[in-house]
């Protein structure tokens, strides 16, 4: 068993979110609202892709499509591994969505989505760096938007 495999295998069942931009590691906990789950968190880990990266292991949890969307918004290069019985059942890179619906609040306070019950909707203009455009007010933002 390789060194790498063993460290992931420490989780019996659950999800590993790897290659998180180091400074966004704790943001992931917040946007997924992870509180009571059994968590293993690593930060300041060496990464060829990112320089420094974060990793989060969540026991007994699978991410929904909506949750993956939120993760991709703060960690566009993340890889997700689904663990069943200490085995990597599925491993994939998150597809960066072309649109984000109901994920983040619009940064324009005068936007209709901040004033009426209209769900937010952004179009992706660029993935790296993340640049999105509000479908409604047409304002363009980078990823410092507040996640809903």
């Amino acid at each position: 068993m390789s060194e790498k495999k063993r460290s992931i295998s420490a989780l019996k069942n659950g999800t590993v979110i790897d290659h998180i931009k180091n400074e966004n590691t704790f943001k992931i906990l917040q946007i997924l609202n992870l509180k009571d789950e059994h968590l293993m968190i690593g930060t300041n880990l060496k990464s060829k892709k990112l320089g420094k990266k974060g990793i989060i292991k969540v026991a007994d949890k699978e991410l929904s499509k909506e949750e993956l969307n939120k993760v991709s918004f703060v960690a566009p290069k993340a890889t997700i591994a689904l663990i069943k019985d200490y085995d990597v059942k599925k491993k994939f890179e998150i597809d960066f969505p072309k649109e984000f619906v109901g994920v983040a609040k619009c940064g324009n306070y005068n936007c209709i989505t901040n004033n009426e019950p209209v769900e937010t909707h952004f179009f992706t203009l660029s993935q790296d760096p993340i640049i999105v455009k509000c479908k409604y007010c047409e304002k363009v933002f980078s990823n410092e938007l507040e996640i809903i």
């Binding site: 005068n110 209709i112 989505t113 047409e138």
Partner: protein, 304 residues
């Protein structure tokens, strides 16, 4: 080209060919007006008052034989009673064939169009878009100069907050015009417009001084500089007298040059300009009629 049922929300939703088609239809409306819209009803929902925009749309509709209902004052709207915008639209679209709306929030027209079963014309959504103004500006430029390609268009004043000039600059990028932006440092054309022009390889120039560019212009598009846009008063005092067009500044301009302004003007064009052959801002307002007639006739399917 089939526009039937189309919303008119943002100038960016229209291709170059579609814009040209709307302008061509506007010309037909002006030269050969007919009662294209008898029996059609337009709802004007002005959640934010704007008398001139509302009158222009209503005149356009009535001159085509259509009828108009609506409200002009937000105090009487259901918004006051706490009804959501989308609910208001879902009620009004039961009554009318087309809705013209103005709203104080950015993106309101797009949100309305999502639930409306009749076409929505955006007559201004906050600081965002006012596409019929852009189309009438384009119509005015084409009508007064006979073309777009090769024109030198000079925009002066508040280029930062003026949505009119943003949309115009972007729309003109469909054509081979040269654009000149004259503004104080703090009111320069926003980056997204500049980036767009660069991406489309449009020749443009930015300057703080009005003097050098007036003699080059085919079109001068004036805008108002508002004091409340300035972080400090001293800065406003410095520029307030600088971007004013008076008759004495027009000595060396081209013969065909026309001055436009979205109106209302305050003092940025002095009254003595009105009687020169260059003044064209009142005609520009008049051009709102055939332009809006064209839009109405197209989206209601009376013209193709």
């Amino acid at each position: 080209m089939n526009f039937k049922g189309r919303d008119v929300i943002s100038i960016g939703d229209f291709s170059k060919d579609e814009i040209i088609h709307i302008l061509k239809t506007a010309k037909e409306m002006e030269s050969n007006p007919k009662l294209f819209l008898v029996g059609k009803l337009m709802g004007t929902l002005f959640f934010e008052p704007s008398t001139r925009t509302r009158l222009s749309h209503e005149a356009a509709m009535e001159k085509l034989g259509g009828a108009v209902i609506g409200f002009a004052d937000p105090a009487v709207t259901s918004k006051k009673k706490g009804e959501t915008l989308q609910d208001t639209i879902k009620m009004v679209d039961q009554y009318v064939d087309v809705i013209v709306m103005r709203h104080n929030h950015d993106g309101a027209a797009r949100a309305a169009a999502e639930v409306s079963k009749v076409p929505i014309i955006n007559a201004g959504d906050g600081a965002n878009q006012h596409p019929t103004q852009t189309l009438l500006d384009l119509y005015t430029i084409q009508k007064s100069q006979g073309k777009f390609d090769g024109l030198k268009i000079v925009m002066i004043g508040d280029l930062k907050y003026g949505r009119t000039v943003h949309s115009l600059a972007v729309a003109l990028s469909h054509f081979k015009c040269e654009q000149y932006f004259v503004a104080p440092k703090s009111l320069k054309m926003p980056k997204y417009v500049i980036t767009h022009l660069k991406d489309k390889n449009i020749k443009f120039y930015e300057t703080e001084k009005m003097g050098g560019v007036l003699s080059k212009a085919d079109i001068i598009y004036m805008t108002r500089i508002q004091e409340e846009r300035f972080p400090d008063r001293a800065e406003y005092e410095k520029v307030k007298g600088v971007y004013i067009l008076s008759k004495s500044k027009l000595k060396n301009v081209k013969k065909n040059m026309k001055i436009l302004h979205p109106l209302p003007r305050v003092n940025e064009i002095t009254q003595d300009v009105d009687n020169t052959p260059y003044a064209y801002y009142f005609e520009q307002a008049g051009n709102g009629i055939p332009t809006r007639q064209a839009i109405l006739a197209l989206i209601l399917g009376a013209k193709k």
